[in-house]
């Protein structure tokens, strides 16, 4: 019932004879799918009244994520949009692909979610130093008093570790409930469980992205009175403004 995707070999890499397990193989499938969709959507980008359906969909997605980031953080959302948006779209695609029969979702394996959480853990110093400078970032660990230093470091590690286990546990519980229902009542009952799995998958992708955003934007400069653009500015607009 509990399938360990890390231990199931999908295929052997030709010429090198390196075993590729199902976690990596399905991650590659999701990557190819996402790249294909974004290539299709951004082939004929244009401005004006008549744009393609693909472009409209992409704009809705990107502007939605942009608005959420804008509400939650100070400063320019474009700093976080590439990282947080990529996390959201990748996890969302992985979670929704659990509906496809025989597809082994990469987020149902602890190694994928641990890798994603590790990226967030590395993102905290990266964005902290980028936003506030090295001195201010290091000072965060000494607050409210230097005696709290070990606890601050511990809380950083455990909060990102909890993100990994949360995503893994939620997706895994959906998979296990689905297989238990298939064993007991295989006719109708798995269907509402799968619908619930869709809902949980969306919520978990949203939660993961928002928590990542909260952690990486926790260190910022105090006086943030920079005018935040409400619309996404393309690089050309910025040049014109300058």
């Amino acid at each position: 019932m509990l399938e360990l995707y890390d231990e199931q070999i999908a295929f052997y890499l030709p010429y090198f004879n390196i075993p590729i397990n199902w976690t990596i193989a399905s991650t590659w499938i999701v990557m190819v799918f996402l790249m294909l969709v974004s290539w299709l959507a951004t082939r004929h980008l244009k401005t004006g009244d008549k744009v393609s359906h693909w472009q409209t969909g992409m704009e809705v997605l990107v502007k939605g994520i942009y608005g959420q980031i804008n509400e939650m953080t100070k400063g320019n959302p474009m700093t976080y949009l590439p990282f947080v948006g990529t996390l959201f779209i990748f996890i969302l695609t992985c979670n929704l692909f659990t509906l496809i029969p025989e597809f082994k979702s990469p987020t149902a394996s602890l190694s994928t979610t641990a890798a994603l959480a590790l990226m967030v853990l590395l993102g905290i110093p990266f964005f902290g130093i980028k936003n506030a400078g090295l001195k201010k970032y290091l000072k965060k660990y000494l607050e409210p008093s230097p005696a709290m230093l070990p606890f601050n470091i511990l809380s950083e590690l455990t909060s990102t570790g909890a993100m990994a286990v949360r995503l893994f546990g939620n997706v895994l519980s959906g998979v296990i409930i689905g297989s238990i229902c298939l064993m007991l009542v295989p006719f109708i009952l798995p269907l509402p469980m799968q619908v619930l799995g869709l809902f949980t998958g969306m919520i978990q992708a949203y939660i993961f992205a928002m928590l990542a955003l909260m952690y990486i934007s926790s260190v910022h400069e105090e006086d943030e009175n920079v005018a935040v653009p409400t619309e996404i500015q393309s690089p050309d607009d910025e040049k014109e403004n300058v």
């Binding site: 019932m1 509990l2 286990v165």
Partner: protein, 92 residues
């Protein structure tokens, strides 16, 4: 009872007990969170976006303890690290 029987029964009982406590405590806590979230949502409908976003994030954080219990139960049932020892001790 030999070692394997003891280990198996203790593992199954502990997994069930772990899920029972974890699910009920997390469910109770999430119920409190949702109830106060909905109360404030009814009082201030203008702040719906901010309240529901904060509520969902806190729900996820509360749920983590339940998920921990679930993962521990799954490890006990399907990937028990002591099985190997019990089997090797039994075949000796």
């Amino acid at each position: 009872m030999d070692l394997i029987a003891i280990l198996g029964s203790v593992s199954i009982f502990t997994a069930g007990f772990c899920l029972c406590v974890g699910a009920s405590a997390a469910g109770l806590a999430e119920g409190y969170a949702v109830s106060s979230g909905l109360t404030s949502l009814a009082q201030q409908p203008d702040e719906a976006g901010s309240i529901s976003r904060t509520m969902f994030i806190s729900l996820a954080i509360i749920e983590t303890s339940g998920i921990y219990c679930f993962v521990v139960a799954m490890i006990l049932l399907f990937a028990n690290p002591f099985w190997q020892y019990a089997i090797s001790a039994a075949t000796k």
